[in-house]
């Protein structure tokens, strides 16, 4: 057992640091570090710098621009980016649909879509959830009826993040309503958002922002060349997404940034003769969360290290998801508590700011990350998955 990085990993870490110190402009840092204050113009510029360096798509297969990094190299890269609050790239484009097209796309689809994702020309959104189908996604109803060499899509998606910026949507649709199992009648379509018949309507969230939307399909005609994978195999295509992103699910580094913000706020908040940070009760609660975060960080490293040998431990990703979201939510809530009365005001220019400056967006973040235990497979569903693994298959404990 060893925690230290190898000599090669240290060299790589230095290379990453040098690149970030020169390539990542100071004014880009932190502008969209938590999804909820995303600034697409900044993200696009950062994406271009990464693309020029060749580091935009390290996890893709080598033939499509991947770098064959080890899990540790990916981890180091993500960690260093996160530490410098680099803008978050669109996980839908780079993290999800890119790899799916590499895996399931035809040569023509790969030649068309992949360069456009890398150049930032195309930005994707994910059309899975529907009003009647959330956790029970396989019950989705948006229909795609074959008509000649086109699909005619009719129905509605909801909670579609960035549909208002996106040029394309990867969309799960029902192509066979009569299939024996609901999962068997689903296909994945790559839909151009400019096609006639698509309407995007914003839905505001409790943090006062506009992240997600309703998307209506009114007999939208989608060419059959936009089918990804085989017809009625869409469920398997979507499920293979789960395998890509095992590291980084828990977003430990970002949570550590949030913790540092809370420390800074508490250190500047007077209590008795000292600061809130020295207050026994508050300090103990914060330390407990910091210990939980340390534990989660090491657990994430263990999962990464076990990577290739982790057969039968698919539930690790679910544990990372649950703990990552829950620890983060608790840290945000403690931050809001530390802000005192300022924790109850919208952080706009007229409102009183917290002297530390660190609290400015914390309230919004705390509200937004309430969603972290809902999206990406709600935590209750993750608990179902882990329980099944513990109770139905022999997990070695």
């Amino acid at each position: 057992m060893e925690l230290a990085l190898t000599a090669e990993e240290l060299l790589f870490q230095r290379e990453v640091r040098e690149f970030l110190d020169s390539g990542l402009k100071p004014e880009w840092r932190g502008v969209s570090d938590s999804d909820n204050r995303s600034q697409p113009e900044v993200t696009a510029q950062w994406q271009a710098v990464l693309a020029t360096k060749g580091w935009l798509t390290p996890a893709w297969p080598a033939v499509h621009g991947g770098l064959g990094w080890s899990p540790m190299q990916h981890h180091i890269f993500k960690e260093e980016c996160s530490k410098r609050r680099a803008p978050k790239l669109s996980s839908m484009s780079i993290g999800m649909i890119g790899p799916l097209i590499c895996l399931y796309g035809t040569t023509a689809q790969q030649a068309y879509y992949l360069p456009r994702i890398i150049s930032g020309n195309d930005v994707w959104c994910q059309g899975f959830s529907e009003p009647g189908s959330g956790s029970d996604l396989a019950s989705l109803k948006t229909a795609a009826r074959r008509d000649g060499d086109e699909y005619v899509v009719a129905g509605q998606k909801i909670w579609t993040t960035y549909a208002h910026y996106a040029t394309h949507m990867f969309c799960l649709v029902r192509t066979n309503p009569l299939a024996a199992r609901p999962q068997a009648g689903i296909s994945m379509l790559l839909i151009d958002m400019k096609l006639p018949g698509i309407t995007v309507r914003p839905i505001r969230t409790i943090d006062g922002e506009h992240h997600f939307n309703e998307v209506f399909f009114d007999d939208v005609r989608v060419p059959e060349s936009c089918l990804l994978g085989a017809e009625n195999q869409g469920w398997d295509v979507a499920r293979s997404l789960l395998a890509f992103e095992r590291s980084g699910i828990a977003d430990v580094v970002a949570t550590r940034q949030a913790l540092h913000d809370v420390l800074a706020i508490a250190a500047g908040e007077a209590r008795g003769n000292g600061s809130l940070l020295q207050d026994d009760d508050f300090g103990d609660r914060l330390a407990r969360l910091e210990i939980a975060l340390d534990a989660l960080e090491t657990f994430e490293l263990r999962v990464m290290d076990a990577g290739p040998r982790c057969a039968g431990r698919a539930h690790d990703a679910s544990i990372l998801k649950i703990l990552g979201s829950e620890v983060r939510q608790k840290i945000h809530m403690l931050g809001v508590e530390a802000l005192g009365q300022v924790g109850a005001v919208w952080p706009d220019d007229a409102a009183p700011a917290h002297p530390s400056g660190a609290g400015r967006h914390l309230v919004q973040d705390a509200l937004f990350f309430r969603a972290a235990s809902i999206y990406g497979g709600a935590n209750e569903i993750q608990r179902n998955i882990i329980a099944k693994s513990l109770l139905k298959s022999p997990v070695e404990i």
Binding site: M1, L390, L391
Partner: protein, 377 residues
């Protein structure tokens, strides 16, 4: 970075597991204290033969030169088997103090005997890790002729009734601690034996002007503080590993029970309310295991702030997880969980008895805070 045990460590674990399974740890004889005590006495020599007592001792004193990762590999198995073998007191704390502070002659005298299973120690630390402690509860008195006497009391010293030597920590200030060997039967030393809830022998110890021999002092007078801090940290990590092993055992017992016990015409495993609570137990276990690994890895090298924070973090996390898992394991077993016939309750009691040792969770939480906040944020 890597989290697997070496081939040798895994083999050693497997051997120890086989041994403990074959011998049937005293879990089977629930509540039979004397039987459990005999079991431990009988198998002490066998544990020594397996190398469990020598594992962490220096190689030039019949030891195998193992480190903190070897220690957790071993103690995890002790925990899983609910063996309650008092390895930590003798093979980690006593051996660690002798190794760090002892003269060459003392090392030659005591360490091979420990490795061979001929010598057991108990640690009377005078409560130096108690919250707010300013020193040991055993006072060190210098006489005019240069000799020393010890005076004081400690309410609970585990394994004291069964030990060959007491290692007594004396000194009224934390910066000037000394360690002496004292024979349990020595004039002025009084043991009041009793049992702890995990069926381990313990005693309160009072020392009335007990004569301390210079030859039985470990290191210089007042110079044991640093060694004690390091060795207690090693003990704390090892103890976390034993706790993690016990938690694994409780989880496995609970899973087996949920699968087999039927109510309302279905196995308990089908009830989602229980499933989700089981998942929380399991997550707490994985977090504890993770911090125990981290603390053990960092403890392979000399102490640093990061290493001490990791040890304290592991202690806090493990204690919290132990409470959750222990409580839920009993709950999910229903009335059966309350029966002294079942190993569940014994594991829960062992976890509870371990909690205050080598620093209460509250002590470690405060130490963690102090270490983390000593750097500018």
């Amino acid at each position: 970075m890597e989290f697997s045990f070496t081939g040798i460590q895994s083999e050693f674990r497997a051997t120890l597991r086989r041994f403990l399974n074959e011998r049937g740890a005293p879990a089977a004889q629930a509540g039979e204290r004397e039987m459990a005590r005999r079991w431990r006495a009988e198998h002490w020599a066998e544990l020594a033969e397996l190398g469990a007592l020598a594992a962490l001792l220096p190689e030039d004193c019949d030891g195998l030169g193992g480190d903190s990762v070897d220690a957790i590999a071993m103690l995890d198995e002790i925990g899983r088997a609910q063996a309650g073998a008092p390895l930590i007191e003798t093979a980690i704390v006593a051996a660690g103090l002798i190794g760090r502070l002892g003269s060459p002659a003392q090392k030659r005298e005591f360490l091979p005997a420990i490795a061979a299973g001929r010598l057991k120690c108990a640690i009377a630390d005078g409560g130096i890790l108690a919250p707010g402690a300013s020193g040991s509860s055993f006072e060190l008195r210098a006489l005019d002729n240069g000799a020393y006497r010890a005076q004081g009391r400690q309410a609970l010293v585990t394994e004291a009734p069964d030990c060959d030597w007491l290692l007594v920590v004396c000194g009224g200030s934390l910066s000037a601690l000394s360690v002496f060997f004292v024979k349990p039967g020595q004039a002025g030393a009084r043991l009041q034996p009793f049992w702890t809830i995990d069926d381990r022998p313990a005693a309160s110890l009072s020392l009335e002007a007990v004569a301390l021999e210079a030859a039985l002092r470990l290191g210089g007078v007042g110079e044991a503080g640093a060694a004690l801090a390091d060795v207690f940290d090693c003990a704390a990590v090892a103890q976390c590993a034993e706790a993690v092993g016990l938690m694994a055992s409780l989880l496995n017992q609970t899973i087996a029970h949920l699968k087999t016990r039927t109510q309302f015409s279905q196995p308990l495993a089908e009830f989602q309310a229980l499933q989700h609570r089981l998942v929380d137990m399991y997550a707490a276990y994985e977090l504890s295991l993770s911090l125990t690994y981290k603390a053990a890895i960092l403890s392979k090298q000399a102490a640093t702030d990061d290493q001490r924070a990791a040890v304290s973090g592991a202690k806090v996390q493990t204690a919290e997880a132990a409470r959750l898992i222990g409580h839920e394991a009993i709950q999910m077993h229903g009335a059966m969980g309350m029966s002294s016939e079942l190993p569940v309750g014994r594991a829960v009691k062992r976890l509870k008895a371990m909690e205050p040792q080598y620093g209460l969770p509250s002590y470690h939480l405060r130490r963690y805070r102090a270490l983390r906040r000593s750097h500018a944020v």
